[in-house]
Symmetry: C2
Subunit: 197 residues, 2 copies
């Protein structure tokens, strides 16, 4: 490749992003170089800004720019319902659907014997705390319909079944499907038809 | 979406890159926030660096970090052969194949009546200059096998046919195909079997 070292290094960094490979990274970098003032400079500045300000909510694990996220801060979302998701992307997908009015708890993954992920590697102890401290009456387990997702849902249900009503998303989540791939209508239908465990 | 404004703005910028959409931009941004020190900060720095240093070669249109690119600077590549490509990505694809030892000329697009792109919007006048000033004996028209690519090749051939041997890439370039999508072996075969126009 005839580009010099700085450009090659940038292409390699971009190629590491999920969804990009070497070819799309090269395209993206050439695109950015052509649009230096309109896109490259603003993107560099914005990344810098986010690097300084982005953090995980200390309460729920959502990503935002404050120690406690907007959803956890909002009094009107303290309605006794807590929606448990694996990942921040899943929380964002639920929010785009715009039908859930309670709060979230982001586990940060699923239990996995293979990858040696136990409850303490996830945000499960904090979940159990929150059920009590936030007077939660219903926990919606909105985990992916994968083996690890369902194993995790069962583990959490075992921990919490004496304290709260447990529900899970119902119809609409396809077998093996992941929340973040679903359209808003499907998420909405699954939430409305949620069933007791 | 519950992320705050800085993060939303970053997602929107990433979603504008070729090959990325809103969903992959969200994934990429969450990934970067999780890997702040290892990926987000270095990427922001590298973009800044490239924004300052990247420029188009004044001679051939390649992208590099000097006014005249490494290939145009290299004496041993002054072998009388000039390979004309539409885009820097095509030049890079040729270089990855590693079989062409001459210099390049990047047009920066193709002629297009529809988009009102004439010879002066491309690097065609400069190409005609270079054929004389660099004592070029063969011009390889390595343009994409699209209608606009071939129209452009014919136009250039008309301008140069009295001065140099004109060739084009031969077998291996599929109908409607674009260079940057081909594997190195195909590019290599097409170059070796190039035919006189
Ligand atoms: Zn929160
Ligand atoms: Zn050059």
């Amino acid at each position: 490749m005839s580009s010099t070292r700085d450009i090659d290094a940038l292409i390699q960094m971009m190629a590491k992003l999920p969804g990009l490979g070497p070819r799309s990274a090269r395209r993206a970098v050439l695109h950015l170089i052509r649009k230096r003032d309109l896109q490259l400079m603003p993107l560099a500045d914005q990344l810098q800004k986010v690097a300084v300000t982005a953090r995980e909510c200390l309460n729920c694990g959502n990503v935002g720019t404050t120690d406690i996220c907007d959803i956890c801060e909002a009094e009107k979302r303290a309605n006794g319902m807590l929606c448990v998701v694996e990942d921040v992307a899943d929380l964002w997908a639920m929010e785009r659907a715009g039908v859930f009015k309670g709060r979230y708890h982001v586990l940060g993954g699923t239990l996995s014997a293979l990858d040696q992920v136990g409850p303490d590697q996830l945000r499960i102890p904090k979940l159990i705390d929150r059920v009590e401290s936030e007077a939660i009456t219903e926990v919606i387990l909105a985990l992916n319909a994968t083996v690890d997702g369902q194993t995790t849902a069962h583990y959490i249900a075992d921990q919490l079944e004496e304290h709260v009503t447990l529900t899970s998303l119902a119809q609409g989540v396809p077998i093996g499907g992941e929340l973040d791939y679903l359209d808003d209508g499907t998420i909405s239908a699954a939430l409305n038809a949620r069933k007791a465990l």
